[in-house]
Symmetry: C2
Subunit: 875 residues, 2 copies
């Protein structure tokens, strides 16, 4: 019982805090946790005494039991700690990552085995080569489609949106988890050029969400929005970390990709969880005898003493710039394909009907082209993604060294050698083909990312440049003394970091490649190339994730780009919605009803009067709905009936000297009176409006359920209205069974009409007295900063206390994306803000102030009204 | 002239925006920049035509000149770009870093040479060994003391405070730069265990500040707070980056050490500048023939194929935990020494008199102990910091390998070998001695950091553990197949990262060691050790920088620690200052005068009336001061004299029928009249307040300056209005020289007294209509978040629009540090917030609302007052 009421108190608090910064919730949660912790020892004392009783009875066996109980208690008390959560998350994700990798490897081996076993017949070989991925991808697409369509795609754009504070439904459920893991395994097992990183960010977040739900079953843990978001941010780091065994790169990449403002105090969480996860992930490989000890995933063995020459730097810079253009092209191509598919209505319609056809066709096309005896021989089609990457990062040089020496292609590197064509041609073909294939493959509706394919293409491009350099300078560039031949593998590392950095608009891919290769010797070339690639790509295209956010139309607030100066001239007054839904302090229930039925905002502004428009606070929609439902509740009506009956009796006994209208009037007044009396008798210390707690005591869950929207109707459907609101008829029937509900429908309607005309009593209503306010001349830039910093959903625009508009995320997004500037918004000329900032705005401000001043004067000195009126006229 | 007025306009804008979020300033700056850019082409056209004229005169030579002019113009137009600034900053810092390193190396060589040359006489040797550092340190201390005492110490605490938005005077001047660079060079040249990192963060920030000042001379660049802070954040990254040639670690370390919330959009700046700086720093080494190519600063050569065994991980974890304790101890010891010196009044007094004595004594003590033929032989005293680190990170094992094999100590490693004592003893002595020496040395008032000494101690500790492990497992731990001997150098890397991470409370030291050593193979051990060390150290002590912030009492807002649950129960109402300085809309100049003379706040609250206390906005102190000074200005007095003279004349000509008091009264009224007449005669179409446009017409560029509020002229204050606008005294002096200032002092005093009794006219005053507001029940946690996020200095506490208090950084800091909880603040019991949140708080809110409601009712419907009063009684 106590728990229930506490929970209620917490939820009540949360309701109260709604519309303020989410940070607040964390505080309450911590308090709650502190309270739980405090109550913990108390409980344990009683249990201890109980266990002591047990001891007397049963001796040694009981001792064990006590020990178990204590251990259990200790575990439960610790279970709420962040670090336990993070360890569990890391462990779980490492296991998931390892299992997925293992399954993918088996799938790929199976394909290879089938392909290898059928080498007698090329056609059968082709069939096997093609059918296998088609089946896998089709299954993946179908499975995901049926179980959880939210699992489709990368997941990073969605996580970015969720971390922004937007609630995306069904994105963090168990179903999605299953669909994502199985779908991803099948998709990657097919050998298509798809990645694992993005989905793993999503899977890790799913894990975190599910884990915190699971742990809340144990008690001791608290659930709240702020903590969840912190944990999700850590989970994103874990996702990248356990995917590449790159803890540092994972943390940085996840910060760059998902956050706008980053709280440094959450830094350790990501590092802790990602390190643990990466550690377990690599330990699993050691235990499985894949590796002798913990090393990097794609270990390179470049020489340490002279990694590269200073004079090679221009080549690295070229890789960076070219990768920048390439990255932008990739994002553009990817978007183009999606948009093309959407625009072509006939294709679209057809594909909508046969949803699995598109994946199958794309897979067929790609696998046909990579068929090793066919075109695939020219582009190392035999190699899986991992194998290509390993060969590309090889520290030996493929091109001819000196005159006689030729590199003997052993192992997988053989695939790059073709008897007829040069290795350069193979590389170029690989890059070109893989480029469009990856852009195409990532549009398939299966769980998949684009990071790894892009990474491989980048490595191939780097390798191409490196091999060219090696061919050009066979003895290296370094002039004096030793010969240091050029290492094309180093170029591949640089290219991989640069292209993936350009596509995702991140710098931390540099760190990821160091962690992936286990060598940091190329740090400066990598950093230079990544920065150049970013500079180029960011000026041409949005990042791949932002592009997907736009395509999917997710509710995310885009970043203000560099140098969008025109944005700085837009003010809040240009973009705000002037037609604000508000309620006044002296409104009646009918107004409330009208406002509730006409709008969909979660909170409503409360102003002093419709004339003054002084903003007093904001009220949650649910609060108002409960106010309204209380006013029209059955219990109040029964109360009324009882009163009427009493009045009837009175009238029968005493001669009435008033007419019926007057009597009814008085009756309703008495009703009001009596209710407050009854309430005070029920709970004398509480104010009048706490009545909803009464039924809540019987069924705690009902109260917490947000009462449904009154879908609507206008004035005459008040019965329907009433029925909607009074959602617990049984409970009230029990209470009020002494009074007979003998009112006819017409009478009820009449009574409700009367109730609606009463003035609203806000005293029982939770009002947020400080909703976020902006002034009309706040710039778009500042508004954007405040919205991103505080994770706001909407803000009221006031002018010296007067509510004049409201800005929500939607308006802001439109303004930033520029879609509004064309249509509706008045874009100021660049100099306007300087020209009128001193005059018009201050004039309005001053005017407002004067009005207030005058009003104030007129209130305090009613005789002085004339000058203020003349003032007003003069304006 | 035009530039001046523009600057004035910008400054005016900035003044106007003061008290809002600093982001706003950035916007204005960008607008300003856009404006400047726009005006650029115009200017260039005229210059082009001028150069074309030149062409006709002079032919070919002029062509060159045009070309030069164009290039110059292009450069100037680009000079405002961020990336140019960052490149210059990186270049400059790399040069500074390299030159400082070079000088330090020469200093140390000189000492070595002196010490080596005198090997015939031990006493002379000792004198040379000791005198040299004493002289250098004393010079450094004296020089810094005289030139700029702000240059003393690390600089990171100060930068942390400055980046928080607090302006520290004199910390970013050229004097400080010179003092810091020269002082640091001398201090490090002495061979004391001091570091370079902290000072370099400060030097880089100084560079950035000076550079942006310098570049603003060229024009095209804009100066503003928001941009400066972004640039300072980048500069901190550059400081670390060019100090260790560690761009990534530099960026991360500077973020961890200086920021609370980090804007991801600024990420690239740090990376860009730090990479460039590190690149140039290493290129300089290549050009100086120190290195063959760009490599890491302390390159290690650990084996790549099997860096460490899985079973070695417990040893790494032990290093981490021990380093955590060690780090906390170091911070504690450092603070203890400072506090001891401060508390001992006799010592303190003596040292204050002889400021250079303390540095000299400390240096004498430390250098005596490290004297190689003396005690120094047991602790490798001969080695400089750099040499020790190089030997400690060596990949060979010092302890006995197997039975017969002994490592031959060559080069600097010889210093670790002592014929009598074991290498373990040497290491232990080194660690213990250096530990307290470093803690002591960092208290010397010279520019110095503690990172590097701590790093070296950590490396030594790691080496000790590594050597022990190597002695314990001579054949390595790995069971099957190959023998992989243990690499103690890897342990040294782990130890260095862990201890420096523990002292600074950062995780990014891990990245720094990878970049410093050029090897990332030990990533998992390093990460595990660093995280463990952080966990231990953070639970015991603040970071070294926070400790210094506390010692120096810098105005920094401390972080809310983990698990300080009692903090969550403090509300704003518990810590706010209830006695707010405010001014009312209808106050007179005397009130203004009183408020201004009694308080020191930079902004003052403006409320409706002292009764209602409705917060209308905040006004800057300077604005009010100018209001007051205008009211009492000489020109207004002369105006008054002229008027009086005119009235006198009138009285002489016309027979007066009123007494003198009345006449004076009327005279002042006539003054008002005549002024307004004069104004309207001058510009009949314009409202009264636009007079400043008159001088503006002479200087066209002034028009852009935001003209003061023209304001609907107010009832009683038109005099003030007029005078406010005529703010150019020289112009008026010309105008008013016809009047003789014949008032006596007594008359002036009388006149001023009268002026002070007039009501203030705020219409010409810039009012910030939306100062930051909190509600009384906002928790400390939330307040802290908002203050850190928005960089606030103070916030008003309101309750339904009524001003009830103010919270500034000071109160917040006190509350967080807990110093107030003991004395004055009522700390709520843990459950209080739950108990009363549902009742009392809502009650107060409701009461407030009711009051407002009633007030509102009484205003609109005076007849309805009775029921509302009864309502109030019923509560």
């Amino acid at each position: 019982m106590a728990d229930g009421s506490d929970q209620r108190a917490l939820q009540y608090e949360q309701t109260l805090m709604y519309g303020r910064y989410t940070q607040e919730l964390g505080v309450y949660a911590k308090e709650e946790a502190a309270r739980l912790r405090e109550s913990g020892p108390r409980r344990s004392v009683s249990e201890q005494s109980r266990s002591l009783d047990l001891l007397e009875y049963k001796g040694r066996c009981a001792k064990c039991r006590i020990c178990t109980v204590r251990c259990q208690k200790f575990l439960i008390s610790r279970v709420g700690e962040d670090w336990i959560f993070l360890i569990l998350l890391g462990l779980l994700m490492a296991l998931v990552s390892w299992v997925v990798d293992f399954c993918i490897a088996i799938c790929l081996q199976a394909q290879n085995w089938m392909y290898g076993g059928l080498d007698s017949n090329v056609f059968l070989q082709y069939l096997a080569w093609v059918t296998y991925p088609v089946v896998l991808i089709t299954f993946s697409a179908g499975f995901t489609q049926i179980l959880a369509p939210q699992a489709v795609g990368s997941g990073i754009p969605e996580m970015k949106t969720i971390l922004r504070g937007v609630v995306l439904k069904e994105y963090l459920t168990f179903k999605t988890f299953v669909a994502k893991v199985i779908g991803l395994t099948c998709a990657l097992g097919s050998g298509m050029p798809l990645g694992k990183e993005g989905p793993f960010v999503h899977i890790a977040s799913l894990c975190a969400a599910l884990l915190s739900k699971f742990m809340s079953l144990f008690g001791g843990i608290y659930e709240n929005e702020s903590r969840n978001i912190e944990m999700l941010a850590a989970a994103c780091a874990v996702g990248v970390g356990c995917c590449f065994a790159a803890p540092i790169g994972g943390v940085l990449f996840s910060i760059e990709v998902t956050s706008t403002f980053f709280a440094v105090r959450n830094y350790w969480r990501g590092f802790f969880a990602a390190t643990f996860s990466a550690f377990i992930f690599r330990v699993l490989a050691v235990w499985n005898r894949d590796e002798e000890t913990i090393t990097a995933l794609f270990k390179t063995r470049f020489r340490l003493d002279f990694p590269f020459d200073l004079q090679e730097l221009p080549a690295f810079a070229v890789i960076g710039i070219a990768s920048g253009f390439g990255g932008a092209l990739f994002v553009y191509l990817n978007r183009l394909i999606v948009q093309f598919m959407r625009k072509q209505k006939t294709i679209n319609k057809f594909l909508m009907k046969k949803r699995l056809l598109y994946p199958a066709l794309v897979t067929l096309l790609i696998s046909t082209l990579t068929f090793p005896p066919g075109f695939g021989q020219f582009m190392a089609g035999k190699l899986t993604q991992k194998e290509s990457l390993v060969t590309l990062l090889d520290n030996r040089t493929w091109a001819k060294q000196g005159i006689a020496e030729e590199f003997d292609y052993i192992g997988h590197a053989q695939a790059w050698k073709h008897p007829q064509v040069n290795v350069f041609v193979t590389l170029v073909l690989f890059i070109v083909m893989k480029f469009w294939m990856s852009a195409l493959a990532t549009t398939i509706p299966v769980p998949c990312g684009a990071f790894m394919p892009v990474f491989v293409i980048g490595a191939a491009f780097g390798r191409l440049v490196g091999e060219s350099m090696a061919a050009w300078f066979p003895d290296g560039i370094h002039a004096d003394g030793f010969i240091y031949p050029i290492v094309p593998g180093g170029y591949a590392v640089v290219g991989a970091a640069a292209l993936s950095g350009a596509v995702t608009h991140t710098v931390s891919t540099a760190v990821i490649v160091f962690e992936l290769t286990g060598q940091i010797s190329h740090i400066l070339p990598v950093m230079i190339a990544v920065i150049l690639a970013n500079a180029v790509a960011q000026s041409l295209q949005p990042s791949l994730y932002d592009s997907i956010i736009r395509i999917k139309k997710l509710p995310y607030l885009p970043e203000l780009g560099w140098g969008h100066h025109e944005k700085y001239n837009i003010r809040v007054e240009d973009i705000m919605v002037r037609d604000v839904r508000y309620i006044t302090l002296n409104c009646c229930y009918r107004d409330l009803h009208n406002v509730l039925t006409s709008g969909h905002l979660k909170t409503l502004a409360l102003v002093e009067t419709a004339e003054s428009m002084i903003l007093l606070g904001s009220i949650e929609r649910a609060q108002l709905q409960s106010l309204l439902s209380q006013q029209l509740s059955r219990s109040r009506r029964l109360e009324y009936i009882r009163e009427r009956a009493a009045a009837e009796k009175k009238r029968l006994s005493v001669v009435s000297n008033s007419d019926s209208d007057d009597g009814r009037q008085r009756a309703s007044q008495e009703v009001r009176f009596q209710i407050s009396t009854e309430e005070s008798s029920f709970s004398p210390t509480r104010p009048a409006g706490q009545k909803p707690l009464k039924p809540a005591l019987k069924r705690p869950s009902v109260v917490e359920r947000p009462t449904e929207l009154p879908t609507s109707p206008h004035d005459h459907s008040s019965i329907a209205l009433k029925n909607l609101f009074c959602s617990s008829p049984d409970a009230e029937a029990l209470e009020d069974d002494d009074v007979e509900d003998d009112m006819t429908l017409r009478e009820i309607a009449e009574w409700e009409e009367k109730q609606l005309d009463e003035q609203v009593d806000f005293s029982t209503c939770k009002i947020d007295p400080a909703p976020f306010q902006l002034v009309e001349r706040t710039s778009l830039h500042k508004t954007h900063t405040i919205f991103s910093l505080l994770g706001l959903d909407h803000a009221y625009v006031t002018s010296i206390g007067r509510l004049i508009g409201v800005v929500s995320l939607k308006e802001l997004r439109k303004a930033i994306e520029g879609s509004v500037t064309v249509k509706g918004v008045k874009v100021r000329p660049p100099l306007a803000s300087f020209r009128d900032s001193g005059t018009s705005s201050s004039e309005t401000e001053a005017t407002e102030l004067h009005k207030l001043w005058d009003r104030h004067k007129s209130v305090s000195l009613p005789g002085d009204r004339t000058p203020s009126e003349s003032d007003e006229k003069s304006q």
